[in-house]
Symmetry: C2
Subunit: 266 residues, 2 copies
Amino acid sequence: MSPPAIKYSPRVTPTEWHDIDVVDERLLNPEEFKSAMEQIGVERYHSLHPFHHLLHNGELKHGQVQAWALNRYYYQASIPRKDLTLMARLRAPELRCAWRSRVLDHDGYEVEDGGIARYLQLTTALDLDKDYVISTIGILPATRFAVDAYVQFVSSRSELEMIASSLTELFAPAIHKARISGLSKHYDWADDNALAYFKKRLSEASKDAQFGRDYVIRNATTRTQQESVLNALRFKTDVLWAQLDALYGAYVEPGNIPPGAFVPDV
Amino acid sequence: MSPPAIKYSPRVTPTEWHDIDVVDERLLNPEEFKSAMEQIGVERYHSLHPFHHLLHNGELKHGQVQAWALNRYYYQASIPRKDLTLMARLRAPELRCAWRSRVLDHDGYEVEDGGIARYLQLTTALDLDKDYVISTIGILPATRFAVDAYVQFVSSRSELEMIASSLTELFAPAIHKARISGLSKHYDWADDNALAYFKKRLSEASKDAQFGRDYVIRNATTRTQQESVLNALRFKTDVLWAQLDALYGAYVEPGNIPPGAFVPDV
C-alpha cells in the first residue's frame, strides 16, 4: 500500500542516497494516496515528540508549560494570517468561501469569540501577562522561523501544495483529546476555561481536514502532483516538530535558553 | 555608552516587561552606535554557543562534525541568493557595485574558484558525498527555516535593515581564527585544503564588514533608524544561534534527531 521512494524526496538518509529507485510514475489510487498521507502522520506527527509526552503526562514544571504556551501562541496567532495569505491566492470564489470559516474560527466574528481569544485564556491561566504574550517578545527565534516558514510556504507554492500543508489537521483530533485529558488530570490550572481552545478545535479541525483531503484527492491528477502533496504535508510536520525541538532544547535538555528568550521564574 | 532600552525591542524579559522606559529619542553619536553594535556581538554572537566550544576544542565525534558541516552548507550556499535578493532591491548602482564582490567571493568568477566550492572541500574531507551535501536532503528543518528567514528578511526590510543584517561579519574574523586553529589542532582531516574556505574568509569578511558599518553609520539619521539597525543585527545573531541550537539538540544533547534528517554512522 505504501508508495515507492521518489528521487529528490527530502526524506532520504545518506545510506539510501546511492540506492534510490527511479520514480514510479503510476498514479496512486485514492486508497493508496490516503494511506500515504496517514503514514506521514504515523511517522512524523508531533504527537510523537518527547516534549508532548512530558507535557501530557504532567512531567513538566510550571515554567516549562508556560514556555510551551507562550511559544505556541505565535503559531496560533499566525494561522489566520496563513489562511488569508492562502485565500488571497485562490482563484475560485467557491474555494475562498469554503476556506473562510478557518479565519472566522480563529479571529472570531468578533475578536472575543475567536480561537485566539480562547487560546489567551490558556496563557492567562498559566499566569502569563496577556500583553507580554501578544507582543511575542519572549518567544524562541526558532519558533518564529518555523512559523514564518509556514506563512511563506503558502505565499509561494501551488494551490495543491498550500492546501495540502493544512492536512496535519487529519491527525489533530487525537492529540487534542490526549492533551485535554492529560492536562486536566495533571495540572490544577487546567479547567474548562483554560482548555476552551483545544475543546473547540475537536470539531473544527475534523471538518476542515475532510475538506482538504477531498480537495487534494480530487485535484492531484498526476503522480508528481500527488508527491508534491505528500511533500507539503511532510513540510508541515517539520514546522510542528521543529517548534517542539526548540522548546525541548531551551527548557528541558540541555536547557540552553537562547539570548533574549523567555526565562521562567520557576 | 550603551543605549537605553527601547519599547518593543525584541529583547525584553518578562520581569522587565512592566518596567520599560519610554524610548530615548536622542541620536547616538558614531562611537555610541558602534559600541551598541559591538555589545550585540559580545552578548549574542554564536561564538558563545556551547556547540562551538565543543567543535573548536576537539570534543565532537566525526558524525557530529559531519552534521555541523552538512547543515552549515545550506547557510553557506544560500548567502549568494541572500546577497542577490538584497542587491536586486538597491536603487543606487554604486551600492550594487560595492556589494557585488560578495557574490563573486561565494559563487566565484567560475564556480570552482568560489567560496561554495571551497566549502565543499571541507565536506568532502569529512567523507560526505558531494551530491548528497548539495541536495540538502539531510539537513535539519530548523536549519532551513532559519536560513530561509534570513533570505526573506532581506527581501522585505528597509535598505538600512537589510544591510545591517550582514554586520555579524564584524565578529566573524575572531571565530574563523579560533575555528582554524582549533580544528587544525584536534582533527586529522583538518588540513589547508579542508579549511580553505575559512582561511579565505579572514580577509573577505573584514573588508565587507567595514563597508556595511560605515554605511549604516552614515545613513541611520534618526534614533528609530539606529534602533532598526541594531534589531536587524540581533535578528541575524538569532539566525546563527538557532542553527547551533538545532545541531546541539539533534546531535549532542538530548540527541533527538528529527524524522528524515541525517543520521551519522559514527
